[in-house]
């Protein structure tokens, strides 16, 4: 079995993995990162989205061996998540705008939203809608998600601009 080295949410792991093991299963079943859920088996829903070396990736369509040497950030590593820890501005924006109901799509949606802002820090509604096309939500009708991404973008912009 191949051995891989992978950093997840700041912790470095060495794992022996079957070649066919999916990254999302490594995260969920071996490393206890159940914050990243699985919603489909055809890479359509985006629920499993994580940051892989700083870019969003659907962790169900990456093999664990392909992530050898990579740095993975999941929803659990985004803020400082102690009981009194602080959330990432995008997580806070989702809360403020009521952009989640059941919350199943939320980890992936938040990751995709943050990734979207890498290319366009002040996206229009249209850009946000197009940018989130790979992430499905069955509960919200997306209205509040779009609002949350806008708010998150503003707050992240502010954070960058404050010395």
């Amino acid at each position: 079995m191949p051995r891989i080295t992978i950093t997840v949410d700041g912790i470095k792991y060495e794992e022996d993995v079957e070649p066919r093991l999916l990254l999302v299963h490594l995260l969920r079943e071996r490393l206890g990162r159940t914050g990243t859920p699985v919603g489909c088996d055809t890479s359509n829903c985006g629920a499993c989205t994580v940051m892989l070396d700083g870019k969003s990736a659907k962790s169900c369509s990456v093999l664990a061996v392909q992530a050898d040497g990579c740095d993975v950030v999941t929803i659990e590593g985004l803020g400082t998540n102690g009981t009194n820890g602080s959330m990432h501005p995008m997580q806070r924006a989702f809360h403020e705008e009521h952009a989640l109901q059941c919350g199943y799509c939320t980890p992936g949606m938040v990751m995709a939203a943050i990734d979207l802002l890498r290319n366009d820090p002040e996206p229009s509604e249209e850009t946000i809608r197009q940018g989130l096309e790979g992430n499905l939500c069955r509960c919200t009708g997306y209205c509040n998600i779009v609002r949350a991404v806008r708010r998150g973008a503003q707050e992240m912009g502010r954070a960058v601009n404050t010395p």
């Binding site: 489909c40 809360h95 009521h98 059941c102 989130l132 509960c139």
Partner: protein, 782 residues
């Protein structure tokens, strides 16, 4: 002065864990030594199982056991149908695992239990099954033909029912206007984002079942009935559940089989559905052929309505399968007055996945029929579609109003909601633009669709459910307890899976007991923690469960009052209660409810006959349904060259009575409207002539993404429900019920001048284009 919590846009208590990945989805849970189960499923729509051999799987590494249906034949029982809508309904045996015959693609025929899921998947391939093919039955009309192939020995008709009110024949005789249409409600796949999952553990005698379900309480009863395991040995937990929309309002084969496997193996077992498995085997929704006839006077006043449904049951009757279409009996007449009405429904067996409740359950279908045909009536007599509704709807001064189908609508104001919607929408301006585009022959035509819906929800008065042959009551339960330190715990019988009950119930309790919102915890979804409940579906949680919470709080307050009177040596009648404090009228003497909770806990000085606790519980059974209503308006741009439909604007003004949390209400409407639009424009579960489902993945079954939908403009009017003390009506299904006909009406409206008067849902570019092409071939004006 304290702020009233009810009515505030409180941010949700539920969010923090969901946003930070600390959620307890069933698939996140495990038990030491857990074994993983996978099912082998029938690739045939209809076949006899002539041989099945699981021994090859048993020998593989990591495999603990493998079983076929034969191995469960003696103990698996039959999956329940709790709604036998007629006396002579045919309810076929429905074994959780097929034993000798399969009747839809995806039906479980065998299973493997292994140490991990990858091994279990490998082992499935080592199971041998020989099938003797039988003819598939996919078309409802053919299914009812006498000499066609049968799904079950008893035939393909599950039931027929009819409701008649008034003299329908007379009303149709000599009617100046008669409209006759047939609409098809395509089959839908509910597609909650969280796939189903089940985990069962046992101590050798009792069982704990974790399931991604909307109905832990109902499930517990049903599992006891189906398996014969005594109810008190079963504990069912619905941990965090990722959406349901009715699809998790079910007693599933997998839940029963996992329970039986845990009993047989004495080990914890777990099953997780894949999405493709789910598309095949989570019950589907809708699937009706609707024949509608409407008779009217020349000015558009409705004389009579006649609706005749064929409803596809699929291969078996599941928990509520036959009840769903029959809900249309009371709903097709909607908000309109008429002299006579007839509703008939025939349930038909086919070799497909059974249908059952999907958001709105029967009411979206009914609303579609009436709201589509109202537009046809408007076109026929040449008046505006809003005007034709106005001429027929129940006026606000006519409430309470007993409808032609026998329900009594307690409150409503269709005029107010419609006026508000028209002005928000800019109706007249859009009509002007539409005319302009028509005159110009613009290749992109504008269509305007309206839907003035109502629905019956808040399921439901137990007496009425009994009269409708429903197998359970419609009450809801809550208990409220003040803890020693003055905090409050609420246990609710409702089972939220995205609806925000924890937040909304906290707001209700904060006002009722005068405690801070933050001091309230809401427990749910565990039969050991909430001993009684009827769970969450049918927009019932607030209108029934929320009221139970209020009632329990009232009882707690009464107890607190007695205790306060004792401690302050006055009569209970001398006490005023405000903002959580009892004050002896006209004095400075006071006790907070928190102090009283502590006094009840220490019990040092209790009045005689008062127990050492400040808690209570209540069960609420409503006396009537609640009737949300509203007016939805949709503007679409239809490209007549490509058939592409784009929603330009969408306005919804809903009257859902009193609002506890406007943020949550708007969220429910957004999601509901999106699902209704999805039926109108995108989604369809497609079976081929051999009964194979072609839309097994999210790549084939088109759930709309953010890029496919517009923003929605929402507003509300408020006619409080009179059937419950909160004045609330429920909002979970309203958006879905209203939006589908609004969108299709808009698409048809755009093309009506070209002779198009119907487009089969989903109105894909291809269908729109074909409808136009067909009219052109016929030379237009149809």
């Amino acid at each position: 002065m304290t702020v009233q919590e009810v009515g505030r846009a409180r941010r949700r208590k539920e969010d923090a864990k969901l946003l930070t990945g600390r959620t307890q989805w069933t698939d996140n849970l495990s038990r030491p030594g857990v074994l993983h189960v996978m099912f082998l499923r029938s690739p045939m729509a209809h076949a006899r199982i002539s041989r099945i051999d699981v021994s090859g799987a048993r020998d593989l590494p990591g495999v603990v056991a493998a079983f076929s249906g034969q191995d469960f034949a003696g103990e698996q029982g039959s999956l329940p149908c709790a709604w036998p809508v007629t006396e002579d309904i045919v309810i076929p045996e429905h074994p959780p695992m097929a034993v000798s015959e399969v009747r839809y693609v995806g039906e479980a025929v065998a299973c493997v239990v292994a140490t991990d899921r990858y091994r279990a998947a490998d082992a499935l391939e080592a199971i041998e099954v020989d099938y003797e093919p039988l003819p598939a039955v996919v078309d409802m009309r053919q299914a009812l033909a006498d000499d066609g192939p049968k799904v079950h020995e008893a035939g393909n008709k599950a039931f027929s029912m009819k409701l008649t009110s008034g003299d329908v024949e007379a009303a149709f005789r000599d009617a100046p206007v008669v409209i006759d249409r047939t609409y098809v409600q395509q089959r839908l796949i509910p597609s909650a984002m969280e796939p189903r999952a089940v985990l069962v553990d046992t101590d050798g005698e009792a069982f704990t079942i974790w399931s991604a379900t909307q109905i832990p309480h109902v499930l517990r009863v049903m599992l006891a009935v189906v398996t014969g395991i005594p109810e008190h040995k079963l504990r069912v937990i619905a941990p965090d559940v990722g959406g349901g929309f009715g699809s998790k309002l079910q007693v599933t084969a997998e839940e029963v089989l996992l329970l039986l496997l845990a009993r047989r193996l004495g080990k914890p077992v777990k099953w997780l559905e894949t999405r493709s498995e789910g598309n095949l085997t989570v019950h589907h929704g809708r699937d009706q052929i609707q024949h509608v006839r409407l008779a009217a006077d020349a000015d558009g006043r409705i004389r009579a309505l006649r609706v005749d449904l064929l409803a596809d049951m699929g291969a078996y009757l599941m928990l509520l399968t036959p009840g769903v279409p029959t809900l249309g009996a009371q709903m097709c007449n909607a908000i309109y007055k008429m002299d006579a009405y007839e509703f008939a429904c025939t349930g038909v067996f086919t070799t497909k996945m059974p249908t059952d409740a999907y958001r709105g359950a029967g009411r979206p279908e009914a609303t579609f029929v009436i709201e589509r045909v109202m537009d046809e009536l408007a076109a026929e007599i040449g008046v505006d579609p809003v005007e034709v509704r106005r001429r027929n709807w129940i006026r606000h001064d006519e409430f309470p109003f007993t409808t032609i189908s026998g329900l009594t609508y307690d409150s409503g104001n269709y005029e107010a909601a419609t006026e508000r919607a028209l002005s928000l929408f800019g109706y007249d301006k859009l009509r002007a633009e539409q005319n302009d585009r028509r005159d110009r022959g613009d290749p992109v035509q504008l269509g305007i669709g309206v839907s003035t819906y109502t629905e019956m929800c808040g399921l439901a008065p137990s007496r009425l459910l009994g009269a409708a042959n429903f197998g359970a009551g419609g009450w809801e339960h809550a208990s409220v307890r003040m803890l020693a330190t003055g905090k409050v715990e609420v246990a609710t019988g409702t089972t939220p899976h995205g609806q925000g009950h924890v937040t909304a119930w906290s707001q209700i309790v904060a006002d009722a007991l005068g405690v801070p919102f933050e001091d309230v915890a809401v427990l749910h979804g565990d039969t050991a923690i909430v001993p009684k409940g009827m769970d969450t579906y049918g927009s019932r949680s607030l209108a029934v469960g929320g009221v139970a919470v209020v009632r329990a709080c009232e009882k707690v307050r009464d107890k607190a009052r007695r205790l306060a009177a004792h401690l302050m040596e006055c009569s209970p009648d001398d006490l005023e209660f405000e903002a959580g404090t009892f004050t002896v009228r006209g004095t400075e003497s006071r006790r907070t409810i928190q102090e009283l909770a502590n006094a009840a806990f220490t019990a040092h000085d209790l009045p005689d006959g008062v127990e050492a606790r400040l808690d209570s519980d209540a069960t609420f059974d409503p006396e009537n349904f609640s009737f949300p209503h509203g007016t939805h308006l949709c503007a679409v741009e239809v490209d007549t060259e490509t058939g592409m439909v784009r929603i330009r604007s969408y306005v919804a003004v809903d009257d859902i009575g009193k609002v506890i949390n406007p943020l949550i209400v708007d969220g429910q409407l957004h999601g509901g409207i999106a699902q209704g639009i999805a039926q109108a424009l995108f989604e369809e579960a497609v079976y081929d002539a051999d009964g194979n489902l072609l839309t097994t993945t999210m790549a084939d079954y088109l759930l709309p993404s953010a890029a496919d939908l517009p923003d929605f403009a929402l507003d509300r009017t408020e006619s409080p429900a009179t059937s419950n003390p909160l004045g609330v009506k429920g909002v979970g299904e309203a958006g879905t019920i209203a939006s589908t006909p609004a969108v299709v009406n808009a698409v048809v409206d755009a093309l009506r001048p070209r002779g198009v008067r119907d487009i089969q849902m989903p109105c894909t570019p291809e269908r729109v284009w074909r409808a136009l092409a067909a009219q052109e071939r016929e030379g237009g004006q149809g």
